[in-house]
C-alpha cells in the first residue's frame, strides 16, 4: 500500500509539455472553444457558397473534421484566422472534388440572378443594389472574390488574411486593391446603379 500518490503530485515538477495528468473528455472543451466561432464560420461559408444549404453543409463538414482533431486545437492560440483558413481550404477542396464550377466562372446571364439567395426565402431583404453587388462579386476571379469577401465584407484584417491565405501582407494589400478596382470596373461596365448613379448625378 505504500507509495500511493495522486497523479497531480506525481506529475508535479515534470515538464508541463510532458503530460497533462488526466486529459478529460474534451467534447466540452471543444464546444467552449469552437462554439463562439460557429456563427462567424457560417457567415463566411454563406459568403463563399451563396446559399444557406451549402453553407450549413460546409460548416458541418468542417466541425466534424475539427472534432477529430480537437486536441490539436488546444495548441492554437488565435482560432479565428485558423478556423477561417480551414473553412476556406475545405471550401476550395469541395469545389475541386465535386468538380463544380466556382461562381466566378458561371455565366453572367439572367439565370445568375436566380441563384442569388433570398428568392425562395423569407427573412432577408436584399435590395437591388445588393443583388447587383453580389452579381458583380460572382464575376470576379476566385482569388479576388475571396479577398473582398474576407476583408471588405466580413472584416478580416490584412494580418489575419496573411495567416489565412499564407501570403505576405503587402502582396495581399495590392491584390485587394486590384480586386476592388476590378469590382468597380464590373459595376461600371454594367452601369450598375447605384454605384454609377452618383457619379452621373454629381458629374
Amino acid at each position: 500500500m505504500g507509495n500511493l500518490f495522486s497523479p497531480e503530485s506525481v506529475f508535479n515538477g515534470m515538464a508541463a509539455s510532458t503530460l497533462i495528468p488526466f486529459r478529460r473528455r474534451d467534447a466540452d472543451d471543444f464546444e467552449q472553444r469552437i462554439g463562439p466561432h460557429v456563427d462567424g464560420l457560417y457567415r463566411l461559408a454563406f459568403r463563399f457558397t451563396g446559399n444557406r444549404h451549402d453553407a450549413e453543409d460546409l460548416v458541418q463538414e468542417l466541425l466534424t473534421r475539427l472534432y477529430d482533431r480537437r486536441r490539436q486545437l488546444r495548441e492554437i492560440s488565435d482560432l479565428r484566422p485558423w478556423l477561417a483558413r480551414s473553412l476556406y481550404n475545405l471550401y476550395i477542396d469541395t469545389l475541386r472534388s465535386h468538380n463544380r464550377t466556382p461562381f466566378s466562372q458561371l455565366d453572367e446571364d439572367a439565370t445568375r440572378l436566380d441563384r442569388l439567395p433570398d428568392q425562395d426565402q423569407d427573412q432577408t431583404a436584399y435590395d437591388d443594389a445588393d443583388r447587383i453587388l453580389m452579381q458583380a462579386l460572382g464575376q470576379l476571379s476566385e482569388t479576388h472574390r475571396s479577398l473582398i469577401l474576407f476583408h471588405d465584407v466580413e472584416g478580416y484584417t490584412l494580418p489575419e488574411l496573411s495567416q489565412i491565405l499564407a501570403q505576405p501582407v503587402g502582396t495581399l494589400k495590392s491584390r485587394l486593391h486590384r480586386a476592388r478596382a476590378r469590382l468597380r470596373e464590373l459595376l461600371r461596365e454594367h452601369d450598375m446603379e447605384p454605384f454609377t448613379a452618383r457619379r452621373r448625378v454629381n458629374g
Binding site: 507509495n3 500511493l4 500518490f5 506525481v10 488526466f22 473528455r25 471543444f30 458541418q60 469590382l183 457619379r199
Partner: protein
C-alpha cells in the same frame, strides 16, 4: 498631388492605412478636385454596401445541431479502439493502450489492448484511454495503477503504484503516463478502477528490452482472451 496618385491612395485612406503627412496631402488634393472627391465617395459607398451585404441566417438551432452531429459522427467512426490507435499516432503519442469499454465485466482484457514495449532507460509516454458511454458520467472513481517490477513512473525511480480519485466523463478519458524501464522486464500494467463499489481490472502486457534487441519498439496485437 496628381489625380492618379490621389486615386492610388484612396483605398489606403479608407482602410485607415495612410500616415499623417500622406493623409494631409490627399486632403489638400481632395479639397480642390471634384473628380477625386466623387471617386472617394463612390468607393466609400461601395465599402459600406459590402459591409452591409445581408446573410441568410442558418436554420434555427444550427450551431448546436452541428456540434452535436460532429460529436456523433466522430463516435460512430471511432467506435472500437482500432480507430483510436490512428488518432493517437496522428497526435504523436508514443503509444496508445486502450483500457476498455465500461462494461459490466468483472475482469477482462480488451481485444484491442496491445503490449506496451519499452526500451530500457528510455522514458516513454503512454496513453490510457478510458471509454465511457455517452450518457454516463462517473464521479468519485478510484484509480489504481500498478506497474511490473523494473518499470516505474519516469522521474520517480521505484514508483510502481499510483492511486488517486478522479471522475470519468462521457466519451474518451485519456490518461497520459510517462514510464521508464530500469531493466529488462516482462509483466503487466494493472489498472484497477472502482466505481460505485464495483471494481474493474484491466491488464496490459508490458515488456522492456535492452537497446539493440530486434524486438524493441514493436507493437504486438494481443489476441482476445
Amino acid at each position: 498631388m496628381h489625380c492618379t496618385e490621389a486615386k492610388n491612395l484612396l483605398d489606403d485612406y479608407l482602410d485607415n492605412l495612410l500616415d499623417q503627412p500622406r493623409s494631409e496631402q490627399l486632403h489638400a488634393h481632395l479639397d480642390t478636385c471634384t473628380d477625386c472627391r466623387e471617386e472617394l465617395n463612390l468607393r466609400r459607398e461601395l465599402q459600406h454596401r459590402l459591409r452591409k451585404l445581408p446573410v441568410d441566417g442558418p436554420t434555427p438551432g444550427f450551431a448546436a445541431r452541428a456540434m452535436h452531429r460532429a460529436r456523433q459522427k466522430h463516435h460512430q467512426r471511432t467506435r472500437g479502439f482500432l480507430a483510436g490507435f490512428g488518432t493517437a499516432a496522428a497526435a504523436g503519442l508514443a503509444l496508445w493502450a486502450a483500457v476498455g469499454f465500461w462494461q459490466p465485466a468483472e475482469e477482462r482484457q480488451s481485444p484491442h489492448i496491445r503490449t506496451i514495449t519499452l526500451q530500457v532507460q528510455e522514458p516513454r509516454t503512454i496513453s490510457l484511454a478510458f471509454n465511457v458511454p455517452e450518457q454516463e458520467r462517473y464521479e468519485q472513481v478510484r484509480f489504481r495503477l500498478e506497474l511490473p517490477p523494473g518499470v516505474s513512473v519516469a522521474n520517480r525511480p521505484g514508483q510502481r503504484e499510483i492511486a488517486w480519485q478522479d471522475r470519468l466523463e462521457p466519451g474518451r478519458n485519456l490518461l497520459t503516463l510517462p514510464l521508464v524501464a530500469e531493466r529488462d522486464a516482462h509483466g503487466e500494467l494493472v489498472a484497477r478502477i472502482e466505481v460505485q463499489g464495483v471494481e474493474k481490472i484491466f491488464r496490459i502486457p508490458v515488456r522492456a528490452v535492452s537497446r539493440g534487441d530486434d524486438q524493441a519498439l514493436s507493437l504486438e496485437t494481443r489476441t482476445p482472451v
